[in-house]
């Protein structure tokens, strides 16, 4: 069960490397590494010498994409142990970045949403970000009741990790939080929530 078709659902235009950019800053999570590899195939490797890559393997550790990224020979590559550590580093780098730097985000929706939030705090217009969804379609969802955030939600309804209510996942997306919205599904008659369906594998 999903409430779909709400306008705020993000769309991702693809990484599309801009050859006018002076520098390229990639923040990639998990399968997002493959989005960058595809760009190298599409436009050639020249942009890599002006590129900084931040990578976190997250759920894709077994695929060893970090090794493949290292072989690209970008100007810098930095592999973070966790998403929050990567976001911290991204924040520091954006604070020193100049106009002409293009920012590329790829990975799961939850990751893209959080990285976008970091960029927006630096006055970057979200429409100027290059984004590509890769990997699991798992969502980061905020409970509208207790405001608790649950990462990697793959089903709807799901159980709120903070307050335990069964929540229906809506297509309503908050850019500020980088999260979808979850609303209680059995408010009238507790205990009558339908079985969770795997919707975001």
């Amino acid at each position: 069960m999903l409430v779909a078709g709400i306008k705020s659902r993000p769309v991702y235009g693809g990484l599309n490397v801009d050859t006018h950019a002076k520098r390229h800053l990639f923040a990639l999570e998990g399968e997002g590494a493959l989005a960058l590899m595809d760009q190298v195939k599409a436009v050639g490797p020249d942009f890599l010498e002006h590129s900084d890559i931040l990578y976190v393997a997250a759920a894709s550790a077994a695929h060893e994409h970090d090794k493949a990224l290292a072989k690209l020979g970008a100007d810098t590559l930095w592999v973070a142990p966790t998403i929050p550590v990567l976001l911290n580093r991204l924040n520091v780098m954006l604070g020193q970045a100049h106009m002409g730097t293009h920012i590329y985000l790829s990975g799961t929706e939850g990751f893209i949403g959080q990285a976008q939030q970091v960029a927006m705090n630096h006055g970057v217009d979200p429409a100027s970000l290059h984004k590509e969804h890769r990997g699991s379609t798992a969502r980061r969802v905020q409970c509208v009741h207790c405001k608790g955030i649950t990462d990697n939600v793959t089903t709807s309804p799901y159980t709120c990790s903070a307050c335990g209510l069964p929540l229906l996942v809506r297509d309503h997306y908050s850019r500020r939080l980088g999260a979808f919205q979850g609303v209680n599904i059995d408010a009238e008659e507790p205990g009558t929530a339908p079985k969770p369906q795997e919707l975001f594998p």
Binding site: D18, K22, G100
Partner: protein, 321 residues
């Protein structure tokens, strides 16, 4: 039929501020306060000039906080079709005219980390109000202002005094000084926005350089004080009311409609807002698009026209009105 409610105003003061530039202060006849506006906004000034009704857009340049009156600064253009000549040569203190509500098609981005403004000549006007607002809001900004000669340039001395010469740089054609666009755009912090107001050549040149230097289009803003060329007379047929109206060489389609009692919607009268978009049913010649609004394929389709600035080369056009 516009979404504007118009305001009757009286000319409170006329000041010569530079060669060919006059400032006009307007206050409401009914003594009510003016609406607060945001820096970058313009109003449409309606002028009764003998038999002709002239309506031109002018940027508000006074402080957006000043609700006692609005001020505009007007350049007297050579070969004026009427508006700027009327304002300079006929309009006197105490005269009355009509203003539209302010409309802002050139607002600054509140989320920006830094604002860089580039003005050419009279294109300084929207920035005067913007800087007043930015200063009050504690924003980080700088202005680069190109003038033909020091006596043609309005306000540069006042601006340097008020904001400091490090934030207001003046470049004078006559002294062979030009805005060093590439140098300025290199090494600006992320989240900087660029605003350009001036002649078409300047706007295209600056924005082209910015794009070549990797600035995303979301950070680029411009406003042109469009003065499209006149042409030959032609006739407009209205499909819905089966009327035929003549458009004179020095008249826009919109003006010809208004002169014949047909009200069409508008906001900017400068080919930028999209409000006056009109369907073209047929045309026996070529459409001459002078606007910045329609996409190239819309222009090529021949099915749409912005009647505030565009005309036709031919004898007759039938509009979906």
């Amino acid at each position: 039929m516009t979404i504007n409610t118009e305001m009757k105003v009286r000319v409170a003061k006329v000041t010569q501020v530079a060669d060919k530039v006059k400032r006009f202060r307007f206050e409401r006849v009914d003594g009510e306060p003016m609406p607060v506006f945001s820096g970058g906004a313009h109003v449409i000034v309606s002028m009764r000039d003998g038999k002709a009704l002239r309506r031109n857009p002018y940027s508000l340049m006074s402080s957006p906080e000043d609700t006692k009156g609005y001020e505009i600064s007007v350049l007297r253009v050579e070969n004026s079709r009427g508006g700027s000549a009327f304002l300079h040569e006929t309009l006197k203190e105490g005269d009355e005219l009509v203003l539209s509500q302010p409309v802002n098609l050139f607002p600054f981005d509140q989320r920006a980390k830094k604002h860089i403004m580039m003005a050419g000549g009279i294109g300084i006007t929207p920035f005067l109000a913007m800087m007043d607002q930015m200063e009050r809001e504690g924003k980080n900004f700088e202005l680069h202002y190109a003038v033909r000669t020091r006596t043609h340039g309005a306000y540069w001395k006042d601006l340097q005094q008020r904001y400091g010469a490090h934030r207001v740089k003046v470049y004078c054609d006559a002294e062979n000084l030009f805005i060093p666009v590439e140098k300025i755009l290199a090494n600006q912090p992320l989240g900087t926005h660029l605003y350009v107001c001036g002649p078409a050549g300047m706007i295209n040149g600056v924005l082209g350089k910015a794009r070549d230097m990797g600035w995303p289009k979301q950070n680029l803003h411009s406003e042109e004080f469009l003065a499209p060329p006149p042409g030959k007379a032609f006739q407009v047929k209205l499909a819905k009311s089966s009327r035929a109206i003549d458009v004179a060489p020095h008249q826009s389609i919109l003006e010809a409609l208004e002169a014949n009692g047909v009200d069409a919607p508008y906001l900017c009268r400068g080919g930028a807002c999209g409000q006056c978009e009109t369907g073209v049913v047929s045309c026996d010649g070529a459409l001459e698009h002078n606007d910045h609004f329609l996409e190239p394929d819309d222009k090529a389709s021949g099915r749409k026209i912005m009647i505030c600035v565009s005309r036709i080369k031919g004898n007759e056009v039938t509009l979906d009105l």
